[in-house]
Amino acid sequence: MAATVERVLGKSIKRREDPRFITGKGTYVDDVKLPGTTYAVFVRSPHAHAKIKAIDTAAARKHPGVVAVFTGADMTGVNSLPCGWLLPELKVPPHMPLASDAARYVGDPVAVVIAETQDAAQDAADLVAVTWDAQPAVSATDQATAGGSPRIHEVAPSNIAFKWQIGDAAAVDAAFQGATVVKKRIVNQRLVANPMEPRACLARFDEATGDLTLWVTSQNPHVHRLLMAAFVLGIPEHKVRVIAPDVGGGFGSKIFLYNEETICSWATRKVKRPVKWTSTRREAFQTDAHGRDHVTEAEMGFNRDGKIVGLRVKTIANLGAYLSTFAPAVPTYLYATLLNGVYEMPAIHADVTGVFTNTVPVDAYRGAGRPEAAYLLERMIEAGASALKMDVAELRRKNLIPKFENGYQTKVALNYDSGNYEAALDKLLSVMDYKKARADQAAARQQGRLVGIGLSTYIEACSIAPSKVVGSLGAQAGLYESGTIRVHPTGGVTVYTGSHSHGQGHETTFSQLVADELGIPMEQIEIIHGDTGAIPFGMGTYGSRSASVGGTALLMSLRKVKEKGKKIAAHLLEASPDDMEYANGQFQVKGAPGKAVPFGQVALTAYVPHNYPEGLEPGLEETSFYDPSNFCFPFGAHACVVEVDRDTGHVKVLRYIAVDDVGNVMNPMIVDGMVHGGIAQGVGQALWEGAVYDGGQLVTGSMMDYAMPKADMLPMYETDRTVTPTPVNPLGVKGAGETGTIAATPTVVNAVIDALAPLGIDHIETMPLSPERVWNAIKNAKRS
């Protein structure tokens, strides 16, 4: 009998990818060196809005070392960058890789210089003379549709990209009759994702074969290939290979197809040499898709007992100057469908207007729509508690959806998978010792200190997504995932996943899954991701989908491998395949572990099929595509304690506690790590981060001006879990990549407002709650 292999799934196994990263041996896109490489530098608009009268490239072309200079006029036969999610009556303006008629935001590229060296390209780019005709610009979300605002695109009068609604307006009107209705204006500010690795690409055209290879910082190389090759450049996909090697974080910003990799892929065919572009951080601020940027008027109604009777929401979502790849989905199906939260909501109506402005395009940023929904709900609950003079924890508890295991239909389209929201809240209150925290707060207030406690619940839709459902809602792609298990003759296993790791640790967690299913050591397993030349297809990583969708695809292939292996083993043992089972790394006759064939022997037999079942194909390799039947819905409850310095407005986070329910957990260490990072980004939005435009200029255009969270601004986090497996997939995993970002922002803002409550402050419209903003709130409160 084979030795029992220790189970690894669900354990905090150290990461297999780390040795290369801690020794400087990772391979990020900018680390890839090819002989004969040329370097691209883009000429970008310094104006928020300007007509392009002329572009004179003569001086640049003459500059030593310059290989070529291209403008939009040179890119004939190239199509607009596509928008991958179409809403009814969506206005889709053309988005050419190089703008020719007009520039519509600061950073909009209008020409590219390609030279022998980076320095030569940069010097020559400065010699490109563009004659601009500056136009009036609009950047503010709530000004985009105003009468005097300039029109940004011919196809979109009043700068409206779409008007969209969901829910039952009449039911909300009726519900508000006689109810206590609280009303708030809530601004969810614009953010910059800022993964530490700036975007980069390296495109190589092979004249001999006609093949194009693109190394690019992508969360989804197959999506990049499909959109860029088929839609924009018109190159057949089989002649294009996209490789996303080690990628240094994404947080959404590396999902999208951008101008730069498209232009480099086009240009390498013209100059017949590799073309490389690496974004500077300044360019990243000006061109990576931004996140959030909503202005919302919200009303929530309560009855006398504190039960929510209805929610009415009017949101303006700033989409920036063009429609980024998935932009229309974020403020609609990823936002308004989450407005039911974890609460019983008899009536909801949401009205969303997407607007164009002269700003960087806005698209998914970690959480994408769901943080906006959670922030709104949790601020409104707090407003309700204040109006009803109820404890914030009690008001939340009173409204929670009771525990359920298989489906809860919300008022806004979604059907939640499984939930036990009260258990998460209870655990949170117990871990933090809520009563003691309130007593400590009261004591601190006695001393004149501004100490606040903030709570938040959240729910998110992840495991994105059932293809049929998203197709009916406007997605132009399916959202399944692929997974291939290739067993080698000597029993080693190579795993090919369409999912992509840019920090998530797939090489570890997927190895754990395969090791456990096959009962073989992790050392026998290799995970391959991020290469369209190796992997059948893939939709990539975002929306907390890798384990739930990508993992399930692998599980399906593992089961197919075992089914085929049973036939081979049964043949060798002269038994019936129906009598076989797989356990501890061997195929054995049920109930007779002595009568067994080890995995390795079955693998070898599959490739050396001398003694082999009649009619069975040789080889042991299986591919599966898994399309989930529903989203998964992680949830949880977070709390924090803050102290506000009343003289400076500075906020210090004293404690942060997270209780998350992400279903089953494949590697607790990795899940906790993702929760930590998510919390930091959520706290960043609450207190420090914000992209600010002034007259169309991005004044927070570098890390000197945009406040990235630093080590000394954050506390240690206390993390805990409840476990409610999802019935949607056989792994029972829900998704863990975005929870912290969604929950932390309302948690911290609620705490700050709670700290300021003794001063009569019950709301601050706009985040971040920077010292200046808090100080002003305190000053104005004193005045009134």
Partner: protein, 158 residues
Amino acid sequence: MKLPVKTTINGQAYSHEVEPRLLLVHYIRETVGLTGTHVGCDTSQCGACTILMDGQAVKSCTLFAVQADGATMTTIEGLAKNGELHPIQQGFWEKHGLQCGFCTPGMILAAHQMLERYPNPSEEQIRHQLEGNLCRCTGYHNIVKAIQWAAENMAGKK
């Protein structure tokens, strides 16, 4: 006009002629070919390019290559000795102090100097000393733990 630069990096001597405007980080990455040192910003905020220069942790994007003439430097590639990880590297592995790995070389080398100055740092000291290094993945929690692990294990080895 190019200027001569002689350096020693990870024990290896190098001699090049470089443009005066060449930044040290680009010299290390492009001229010498050690790509473990990363570029994460252009304003000396992020610390991804941190190396040890004559024993000091410096941001190699903030120096010209010519300023490093005659200097002895250690990059992330030179920290492990004889195939054995430095305790700080080991600490980052043990405590899950990295996710995407891009900031990690700079974090590790910043921690190297930190632990020379403060062999037994408090959490507050660690956080303060990391002020020049940004990470977007970990929320810093496990980086603090990794450096604490390294401090304990380095003390044990003395």
